[in-house]
Protein backbone atom coordinates (compact mmCIF):
# COMPACT_ATOMS: atom_id res chain seq x y z
CA UNK A 1 0.00 0.00 0.00
CA UNK A 2 1.28 3.42 -0.94
CA UNK A 3 0.74 6.59 1.03
CA UNK A 4 1.61 9.68 -0.96
CA UNK A 5 2.42 12.96 0.79
CA UNK A 6 2.06 15.76 -1.72
CA UNK A 7 5.16 17.93 -2.06
CA UNK A 8 4.40 21.34 -3.47
CA UNK A 9 6.89 23.25 -1.31
CA UNK A 10 4.71 23.59 1.79
CA UNK A 11 6.64 24.67 4.89
CA UNK A 12 5.38 21.82 7.09
CA UNK A 13 6.15 19.03 4.62
CA UNK A 14 9.13 17.75 6.62
CA UNK A 15 7.21 17.70 9.93
CA UNK A 16 4.23 15.95 8.36
CA UNK A 17 6.49 13.41 6.67
CA UNK A 18 8.38 12.64 9.91
CA UNK A 19 5.19 12.28 11.95
CA UNK A 20 3.64 9.93 9.38
CA UNK A 21 6.86 7.91 9.30
CA UNK A 22 6.98 7.63 13.09
CA UNK A 23 3.38 6.40 13.17
CA UNK A 24 3.80 4.15 10.16
CA UNK A 25 6.79 2.36 11.72
CA UNK A 26 4.51 1.12 14.49
CA UNK A 27 1.86 -0.30 12.18
CA UNK A 28 1.51 -4.01 11.65
CA UNK A 29 1.35 -3.47 7.90
CA UNK A 30 3.28 -0.29 7.25
CA UNK A 31 2.70 1.74 4.11
CA UNK A 32 5.30 2.67 1.59
CA UNK A 33 5.45 6.43 2.16
CA UNK A 34 6.27 8.48 -0.90
CA UNK A 35 6.80 12.25 -0.90
CA UNK A 36 6.22 13.48 -4.41
CA UNK A 37 4.56 15.90 -6.80
CA UNK A 38 4.73 13.61 -9.82
CA UNK A 39 1.24 12.89 -11.22
CA UNK A 40 2.12 9.33 -12.31
CA UNK A 41 3.18 8.52 -8.71
CA UNK A 42 0.09 10.16 -7.25
CA UNK A 43 -2.14 8.08 -9.51
CA UNK A 44 -0.71 4.93 -7.86
CA UNK A 45 -1.53 6.14 -4.32
CA UNK A 46 -3.79 4.22 -1.94
CA UNK A 47 -3.95 7.15 0.45
CA UNK A 48 -3.04 10.81 0.11
CA UNK A 49 -1.94 13.45 2.62
CA UNK A 50 -1.85 17.13 1.69
CA UNK A 51 0.05 19.43 4.07
CA UNK A 52 -0.20 23.19 3.92
CA UNK A 53 0.84 26.34 5.74
CA UNK A 54 0.82 29.98 4.69
CA UNK A 55 -1.66 31.85 2.59
CA UNK A 56 -4.49 29.95 0.85
CA UNK A 57 -3.84 31.55 -2.52
CA UNK A 58 -0.08 30.84 -2.41
CA UNK A 59 -0.74 27.16 -1.65
CA UNK A 60 -3.36 26.96 -4.40
CA UNK A 61 -1.03 28.60 -6.92
CA UNK A 62 1.87 26.35 -5.90
CA UNK A 63 -0.27 23.27 -6.57
CA UNK A 64 -1.50 24.53 -9.92
CA UNK A 65 2.02 25.47 -11.01
CA UNK A 66 2.93 21.78 -11.09
CA UNK A 67 1.67 20.33 -14.34
CA UNK A 68 -0.98 17.66 -13.84
CA UNK A 69 -0.77 17.67 -10.02
CA UNK A 70 -4.31 18.85 -9.32
CA UNK A 71 -5.77 16.65 -12.06
CA UNK A 72 -4.08 13.56 -10.61
CA UNK A 73 -5.38 14.42 -7.12
CA UNK A 74 -8.89 14.82 -8.49
CA UNK A 75 -8.63 11.51 -10.30
CA UNK A 76 -7.52 9.58 -7.20
CA UNK A 77 -9.66 11.34 -4.56
CA UNK A 78 -12.87 12.18 -6.43
CA UNK A 79 -12.69 9.60 -9.20
CA UNK A 80 -11.35 6.59 -7.29
CA UNK A 81 -12.47 7.64 -3.79
CA UNK A 82 -9.11 6.95 -2.16
CA UNK A 83 -8.72 8.15 1.43
CA UNK A 84 -7.47 11.72 1.63
CA UNK A 85 -6.29 13.84 4.55
CA UNK A 86 -5.65 17.59 4.32
CA UNK A 87 -3.84 19.41 7.10
CA UNK A 88 -4.35 23.12 7.96
CA UNK A 89 -4.33 24.98 4.62
CA UNK A 90 -4.30 21.53 3.00
CA UNK A 91 -7.76 21.12 4.59
CA UNK A 92 -8.95 24.64 3.80
CA UNK A 93 -8.18 24.05 0.11
CA UNK A 94 -11.08 21.56 0.04
CA UNK A 95 -13.54 24.47 0.29
CA UNK A 96 -15.25 26.12 -2.65
CA UNK A 97 -13.52 29.41 -1.99
CA UNK A 98 -11.45 31.42 0.46
CA UNK A 99 -11.79 35.09 1.31
CA UNK A 100 -8.17 35.43 2.48
CA UNK A 101 -6.47 38.30 0.55
CA UNK A 102 -9.47 38.66 -1.78
CA UNK A 103 -11.51 35.82 -3.17
CA UNK A 104 -9.77 32.66 -4.34
CA UNK A 105 -11.30 29.42 -5.57
CA UNK A 106 -10.56 26.18 -3.74
CA UNK A 107 -10.88 22.57 -4.87
CA UNK A 108 -14.64 22.65 -4.16
CA UNK A 109 -14.65 19.11 -2.78
CA UNK A 110 -16.57 20.07 0.36
CA UNK A 111 -19.23 22.83 0.23
CA UNK A 112 -18.37 25.93 2.24
CA UNK A 113 -15.94 28.80 2.39
CA UNK A 114 -12.82 29.84 4.27
CA UNK A 115 -13.39 33.03 6.22
CA UNK A 116 -11.59 35.17 8.81
CA UNK A 117 -11.96 34.11 12.45
CA UNK A 118 -14.30 36.52 14.18
CA UNK A 119 -13.42 36.96 17.83
CA UNK A 120 -13.72 39.69 20.47
CA UNK A 121 -10.96 42.33 20.52
CA UNK A 122 -9.08 40.74 23.41
CA UNK A 123 -8.66 37.48 21.49
CA UNK A 124 -5.33 37.32 19.66
CA UNK A 125 -5.33 36.49 15.96
CA UNK A 126 -3.81 34.15 14.71
CA UNK A 127 -5.53 31.54 16.85
CA UNK A 128 -2.25 29.99 17.90
CA UNK A 129 -1.65 27.24 20.41
CA UNK A 130 -3.34 24.26 22.03
CA UNK A 131 -7.10 24.27 22.15
CA UNK A 132 -9.78 21.75 23.08
CA UNK A 133 -11.55 19.80 20.38
CA UNK A 134 -15.00 18.25 20.62
CA UNK A 135 -16.19 15.89 17.93
CA UNK A 136 -18.82 13.53 16.60
CA UNK A 137 -17.89 9.90 17.07
CA UNK A 138 -16.08 8.49 14.08
CA UNK A 139 -13.29 5.97 13.61
CA UNK A 140 -10.96 8.82 12.57
CA UNK A 141 -11.24 10.02 16.17
CA UNK A 142 -10.80 6.61 17.81
CA UNK A 143 -8.88 6.63 21.10
CA UNK A 144 -9.21 10.39 21.47
CA UNK A 145 -11.14 11.80 24.43
CA UNK A 146 -13.59 14.67 24.04
CA UNK A 147 -11.95 18.04 24.85
CA UNK A 148 -8.46 16.85 23.98
CA UNK A 149 -6.03 19.68 23.13
CA UNK A 150 -4.62 19.96 19.64
CA UNK A 151 -2.20 22.50 18.19
CA UNK A 152 -3.73 25.19 15.98
CA UNK A 153 -2.18 28.04 14.01
CA UNK A 154 -4.53 29.94 11.72
CA UNK A 155 -6.38 33.21 11.17
CA UNK A 156 -9.02 31.85 8.78
CA UNK A 157 -11.28 28.84 9.16
CA UNK A 158 -13.43 26.58 7.01
CA UNK A 159 -17.13 27.31 7.53
CA UNK A 160 -18.78 24.26 6.01
CA UNK A 161 -22.13 24.79 4.34
CA UNK A 162 -23.48 21.54 5.79
CA UNK A 163 -23.21 20.67 9.47
CA UNK A 164 -22.67 17.04 8.56
CA UNK A 165 -19.28 17.89 6.98
CA UNK A 166 -17.97 19.44 10.20
CA UNK A 167 -17.07 16.56 12.49
CA UNK A 168 -14.98 18.41 15.07
CA UNK A 169 -14.94 21.93 16.47
CA UNK A 170 -12.95 24.08 18.84
CA UNK A 171 -13.99 27.34 20.52
CA UNK A 172 -12.30 30.74 20.29
CA UNK A 173 -14.73 31.73 21.83
CA UNK A 174 -17.09 31.11 18.91
CA UNK A 175 -17.14 27.65 17.35
CA UNK A 176 -14.45 27.02 14.74
CA UNK A 177 -14.28 23.99 12.47
CA UNK A 178 -11.47 21.72 13.71
CA UNK A 179 -12.01 18.82 11.29
CA UNK A 180 -14.07 18.12 8.18
CA UNK A 181 -15.23 14.88 6.64
CA UNK A 182 -17.05 14.00 3.47
CA UNK A 183 -17.04 10.36 2.40
CA UNK A 184 -13.35 9.54 1.76
CA UNK A 185 -12.14 13.13 2.33
CA UNK A 186 -10.86 14.11 5.77
CA UNK A 187 -9.18 17.30 6.89
CA UNK A 188 -7.93 18.86 10.12
CA UNK A 189 -7.48 22.54 10.86
CA UNK A 190 -5.10 21.65 13.70
CA UNK A 191 -1.69 20.15 13.11
CA UNK A 192 -1.65 16.47 14.10
CA UNK A 193 2.05 16.38 13.25
CA UNK A 194 2.63 18.95 16.02
CA UNK A 195 0.05 17.70 18.52
CA UNK A 196 2.28 15.14 20.24
CA UNK A 197 0.73 11.77 21.11
CA UNK A 198 -2.87 12.73 20.35
CA UNK A 199 -1.78 14.03 16.97
CA UNK A 200 -0.02 10.75 16.26
CA UNK A 201 -3.24 8.95 17.21
CA UNK A 202 -5.15 10.93 14.56
CA UNK A 203 -2.53 9.94 11.97
CA UNK A 204 -2.77 6.31 13.11
CA UNK A 205 -6.56 6.46 12.73
CA UNK A 206 -6.20 7.88 9.23
CA UNK A 207 -3.72 5.18 8.23
CA UNK A 208 -6.07 2.49 9.54
CA UNK A 209 -9.17 4.07 8.03
CA UNK A 210 -11.00 2.31 5.22
CA UNK A 211 -13.68 4.67 3.99
CA UNK A 212 -16.70 2.74 2.84
Amino acid sequence: MKLVIINYGSGNLHSVHKAFEAVNNNLENPYEIIVTNTPSEILKADKIALPGVGAFQDCKNAIHKIDGLFESLEQVVIGEKKAFMGICVGMQLLAEKSLEFGECEGFGWIPGEVIKIEAPADYKIPHMGWNEVTFRNHELLNNISQNTDFYFVHSYYFRTQKNENCIATTKYPNPITAAVLKENIFGTQFHPEKSHNNGKQIITNFLEWEPS
Binding site: G11, H14, K124, M128, G129, H191
Partner: protein, 252 residues
Protein backbone atom coordinates in the same frame (compact mmCIF):
# COMPACT_ATOMS: atom_id res chain seq x y z
CA UNK B 1 -10.26 27.39 25.81
CA UNK B 2 -6.94 28.30 24.22
CA UNK B 3 -4.14 27.33 26.58
CA UNK B 4 -1.24 29.50 27.73
CA UNK B 5 1.87 27.94 26.26
CA UNK B 6 4.99 26.99 28.24
CA UNK B 7 8.07 27.11 26.03
CA UNK B 8 11.50 25.94 27.16
CA UNK B 9 14.26 27.72 25.26
CA UNK B 10 17.64 26.15 24.56
CA UNK B 11 20.57 28.35 23.63
CA UNK B 12 22.63 26.38 21.14
CA UNK B 13 26.28 27.07 20.34
CA UNK B 14 27.93 24.92 17.67
CA UNK B 15 25.34 22.21 18.26
CA UNK B 16 25.59 22.20 22.05
CA UNK B 17 23.19 23.63 24.63
CA UNK B 18 24.37 26.61 26.66
CA UNK B 19 22.58 29.28 28.64
CA UNK B 20 23.92 32.67 29.51
CA UNK B 21 23.07 34.84 32.46
CA UNK B 22 22.64 38.38 31.14
CA UNK B 23 23.91 37.06 27.82
CA UNK B 24 27.39 36.14 29.17
CA UNK B 25 28.94 33.35 31.29
CA UNK B 26 27.95 30.48 29.08
CA UNK B 27 27.72 27.08 30.73
CA UNK B 28 27.67 23.94 28.60
CA UNK B 29 24.79 21.73 29.59
CA UNK B 30 24.07 19.08 27.05
CA UNK B 31 22.92 17.73 23.76
CA UNK B 32 19.99 19.74 22.36
CA UNK B 33 18.26 16.76 20.81
CA UNK B 34 18.28 14.83 24.09
CA UNK B 35 17.10 17.91 25.98
CA UNK B 36 14.34 18.48 23.45
CA UNK B 37 13.13 14.90 23.82
CA UNK B 38 12.90 15.33 27.58
CA UNK B 39 10.90 18.56 27.29
CA UNK B 40 8.70 16.96 24.65
CA UNK B 41 7.82 14.06 26.95
CA UNK B 42 7.42 16.36 29.98
CA UNK B 43 4.61 18.28 28.30
CA UNK B 44 6.27 21.36 26.85
CA UNK B 45 3.83 23.10 24.49
CA UNK B 46 6.54 24.20 22.09
CA UNK B 47 10.31 24.28 21.95
CA UNK B 48 12.59 27.15 21.08
CA UNK B 49 16.21 26.95 19.92
CA UNK B 50 18.27 30.09 19.91
CA UNK B 51 21.44 29.59 17.89
CA UNK B 52 24.24 31.72 19.27
CA UNK B 53 27.00 30.26 17.11
CA UNK B 54 29.25 33.16 16.19
CA UNK B 55 30.92 31.80 13.08
CA UNK B 56 28.83 31.14 10.02
CA UNK B 57 31.20 28.24 9.22
CA UNK B 58 29.79 26.40 12.23
CA UNK B 59 26.14 26.97 11.40
CA UNK B 60 25.73 23.70 9.53
CA UNK B 61 25.71 21.96 12.92
CA UNK B 62 22.47 23.79 13.72
CA UNK B 63 20.67 22.38 10.69
CA UNK B 64 21.57 18.85 11.79
CA UNK B 65 20.33 19.58 15.32
CA UNK B 66 17.06 21.00 13.97
CA UNK B 67 16.59 18.03 11.68
CA UNK B 68 17.19 15.47 14.43
CA UNK B 69 14.95 17.34 16.85
CA UNK B 70 12.11 17.51 14.34
CA UNK B 71 12.41 13.77 13.79
CA UNK B 72 12.00 13.12 17.50
CA UNK B 73 9.70 15.84 18.81
CA UNK B 74 6.16 16.22 17.60
CA UNK B 75 5.48 19.65 19.02
CA UNK B 76 6.17 23.03 17.38
CA UNK B 77 9.82 24.05 17.14
CA UNK B 78 10.90 27.67 16.77
CA UNK B 79 14.47 28.36 15.72
CA UNK B 80 16.19 31.73 15.86
CA UNK B 81 19.63 33.29 15.98
CA UNK B 82 21.55 34.58 12.99
CA UNK B 83 18.55 34.45 10.65
CA UNK B 84 19.28 37.11 8.07
CA UNK B 85 17.75 36.17 4.74
CA UNK B 86 14.77 34.46 3.13
CA UNK B 87 17.20 31.67 2.27
CA UNK B 88 18.10 31.21 5.97
CA UNK B 89 14.39 30.91 6.80
CA UNK B 90 13.82 28.48 3.97
CA UNK B 91 16.69 26.23 5.09
CA UNK B 92 15.51 26.13 8.70
CA UNK B 93 11.94 25.30 7.67
CA UNK B 94 13.23 22.70 5.27
CA UNK B 95 15.17 21.03 8.10
CA UNK B 96 12.07 20.82 10.27
CA UNK B 97 11.64 24.12 12.10
CA UNK B 98 7.98 25.15 12.33
CA UNK B 99 8.64 28.80 13.02
CA UNK B 100 11.67 30.99 12.55
CA UNK B 101 12.49 33.87 14.82
CA UNK B 102 14.16 36.95 13.37
CA UNK B 103 15.83 39.63 15.45
CA UNK B 104 18.61 41.90 14.13
CA UNK B 105 17.88 41.33 10.45
CA UNK B 106 14.29 42.55 10.87
CA UNK B 107 15.50 45.76 12.51
CA UNK B 108 18.08 46.41 9.81
CA UNK B 109 15.75 45.46 6.96
CA UNK B 110 12.11 45.79 7.93
CA UNK B 111 11.03 44.64 4.45
CA UNK B 112 12.24 41.16 5.39
CA UNK B 113 9.30 40.80 7.79
CA UNK B 114 6.67 41.38 5.11
CA UNK B 115 8.53 39.26 2.54
CA UNK B 116 8.97 36.35 4.95
CA UNK B 117 5.36 36.50 6.15
CA UNK B 118 4.06 36.57 2.60
CA UNK B 119 6.25 33.68 1.49
CA UNK B 120 5.86 31.36 4.47
CA UNK B 121 2.74 32.62 6.24
CA UNK B 122 2.51 34.89 9.26
CA UNK B 123 2.29 31.97 11.65
CA UNK B 124 5.80 30.92 10.65
CA UNK B 125 7.42 34.26 11.41
CA UNK B 126 8.29 35.19 14.98
CA UNK B 127 9.90 38.57 15.56
CA UNK B 128 12.29 38.50 18.52
CA UNK B 129 12.62 41.84 20.29
CA UNK B 130 15.24 42.57 22.95
CA UNK B 131 14.02 45.61 24.88
CA UNK B 132 15.63 47.68 27.61
CA UNK B 133 13.90 50.25 29.77
CA UNK B 134 14.62 53.81 28.80
CA UNK B 135 12.28 55.78 31.02
CA UNK B 136 8.71 55.71 32.21
CA UNK B 137 6.77 53.21 30.06
CA UNK B 138 9.43 53.50 27.41
CA UNK B 139 11.80 50.85 26.10
CA UNK B 140 14.37 50.82 23.32
CA UNK B 141 15.33 47.78 21.34
CA UNK B 142 18.79 46.26 21.13
CA UNK B 143 20.20 44.17 18.31
CA UNK B 144 23.09 41.73 17.83
CA UNK B 145 22.15 39.50 20.75
CA UNK B 146 21.63 42.46 23.06
CA UNK B 147 25.02 44.04 22.42
CA UNK B 148 24.04 46.94 20.18
CA UNK B 149 21.67 49.69 21.34
CA UNK B 150 19.30 51.46 18.96
CA UNK B 151 17.07 54.48 19.39
CA UNK B 152 14.06 52.51 18.15
CA UNK B 153 11.06 52.50 20.50
CA UNK B 154 10.08 48.93 21.36
CA UNK B 155 6.32 49.48 21.31
CA UNK B 156 6.33 51.32 17.98
CA UNK B 157 8.54 48.62 16.51
CA UNK B 158 6.25 45.80 17.69
CA UNK B 159 3.21 47.55 16.23
CA UNK B 160 5.04 48.00 12.94
CA UNK B 161 6.16 44.36 12.59
CA UNK B 162 2.68 43.16 13.59
CA UNK B 163 1.21 45.28 10.79
CA UNK B 164 3.77 43.87 8.36
CA UNK B 165 2.60 40.32 9.02
CA UNK B 166 4.64 38.94 11.93
CA UNK B 167 2.81 36.03 13.55
CA UNK B 168 3.96 36.64 17.10
CA UNK B 169 6.43 38.64 19.15
CA UNK B 170 9.07 37.03 21.36
CA UNK B 171 9.62 39.87 23.80
CA UNK B 172 12.74 39.67 25.97
CA UNK B 173 13.45 42.16 28.70
CA UNK B 174 17.17 42.95 28.67
CA UNK B 175 16.84 44.35 32.20
CA UNK B 176 15.40 41.12 33.53
CA UNK B 177 17.14 38.43 31.50
CA UNK B 178 19.08 36.15 33.83
CA UNK B 179 18.05 38.06 36.98
CA UNK B 180 15.32 35.64 38.15
CA UNK B 181 13.28 38.54 39.57
CA UNK B 182 10.33 38.07 37.21
CA UNK B 183 9.26 39.16 33.74
CA UNK B 184 9.01 42.88 32.96
CA UNK B 185 5.23 42.76 33.09
CA UNK B 186 4.87 46.46 32.39
CA UNK B 187 6.73 45.97 29.10
CA UNK B 188 4.67 42.89 28.30
CA UNK B 189 1.28 44.45 29.00
CA UNK B 190 2.18 47.66 27.17
CA UNK B 191 3.04 45.70 24.02
CA UNK B 192 0.43 42.96 24.36
CA UNK B 193 -2.47 45.40 24.79
CA UNK B 194 -1.37 47.36 21.69
CA UNK B 195 -1.14 44.54 19.14
CA UNK B 196 -3.45 41.74 17.98
CA UNK B 197 -0.82 39.02 17.62
CA UNK B 198 0.38 36.84 20.53
CA UNK B 199 3.26 37.96 22.73
CA UNK B 200 5.70 35.45 24.24
CA UNK B 201 7.14 36.63 27.57
CA UNK B 202 10.87 36.15 28.01
CA UNK B 203 13.57 37.19 30.45
CA UNK B 204 13.64 37.10 34.22
CA UNK B 205 11.47 34.21 35.32
CA UNK B 206 12.77 32.79 38.61
CA UNK B 207 9.87 31.09 40.34
CA UNK B 208 6.36 29.76 39.77
CA UNK B 209 4.63 33.01 40.72
CA UNK B 210 6.55 34.77 37.97
CA UNK B 211 4.99 32.51 35.35
CA UNK B 212 1.49 33.36 36.58
CA UNK B 213 2.29 37.09 36.68
CA UNK B 214 3.43 36.98 33.05
CA UNK B 215 -0.10 35.95 32.11
CA UNK B 216 -2.14 37.85 34.69
CA UNK B 217 -0.15 41.11 34.75
CA UNK B 218 1.77 40.91 31.50
CA UNK B 219 -1.04 39.57 29.31
CA UNK B 220 1.34 37.13 27.63
CA UNK B 221 -0.01 34.30 25.44
CA UNK B 222 3.05 32.17 26.07
CA UNK B 223 5.86 32.00 28.61
CA UNK B 224 9.42 31.24 27.64
CA UNK B 225 12.11 30.16 30.07
CA UNK B 226 15.53 28.61 29.87
CA UNK B 227 17.70 28.13 32.93
CA UNK B 228 14.83 27.56 35.37
CA UNK B 229 13.95 24.39 33.46
CA UNK B 230 17.37 23.55 32.35
CA UNK B 231 18.94 23.15 35.73
CA UNK B 232 15.93 21.30 37.07
CA UNK B 233 14.72 23.92 39.55
CA UNK B 234 11.19 23.40 38.27
CA UNK B 235 9.79 20.96 35.76
CA UNK B 236 7.28 21.85 33.06
CA UNK B 237 4.74 19.88 35.06
CA UNK B 238 5.43 21.97 38.20
CA UNK B 239 4.74 25.13 36.24
CA UNK B 240 1.57 23.82 34.63
CA UNK B 241 0.21 22.43 37.89
CA UNK B 242 0.80 25.77 39.57
CA UNK B 243 -0.79 27.77 36.75
CA UNK B 244 -3.82 25.47 36.72
CA UNK B 245 -4.23 26.12 40.45
CA UNK B 246 -4.31 29.84 39.65
CA UNK B 247 -7.10 29.17 37.15
CA UNK B 248 -4.87 29.82 34.17
CA UNK B 249 -5.72 27.49 31.28
CA UNK B 250 -2.83 25.17 30.47
CA UNK B 251 -2.52 21.86 28.66
CA UNK B 252 -1.96 19.17 31.26
Amino acid sequence: MLKKRIIPCLDVDRGRVVKGVNFVDLIDAGDPVEQAKIYNSEGADELCFLDITASSDDRETLFEVVKKTAENCFIPLTVGGGVRTIDDISRLLHHGADKVSINTAAVENIDLVAKAAKKYGSSTIVIAVDAKKNGDKSWNIFTHGGRKPTDIDALEYCIEVANLGAGEILLTSMDRDGTKIGFDNELLSTVSSSIDIPVIASGGVGNLEHFAEGVLKGGASALLAASIFHFGEYSIKDVKTYLAEQNIAVRI
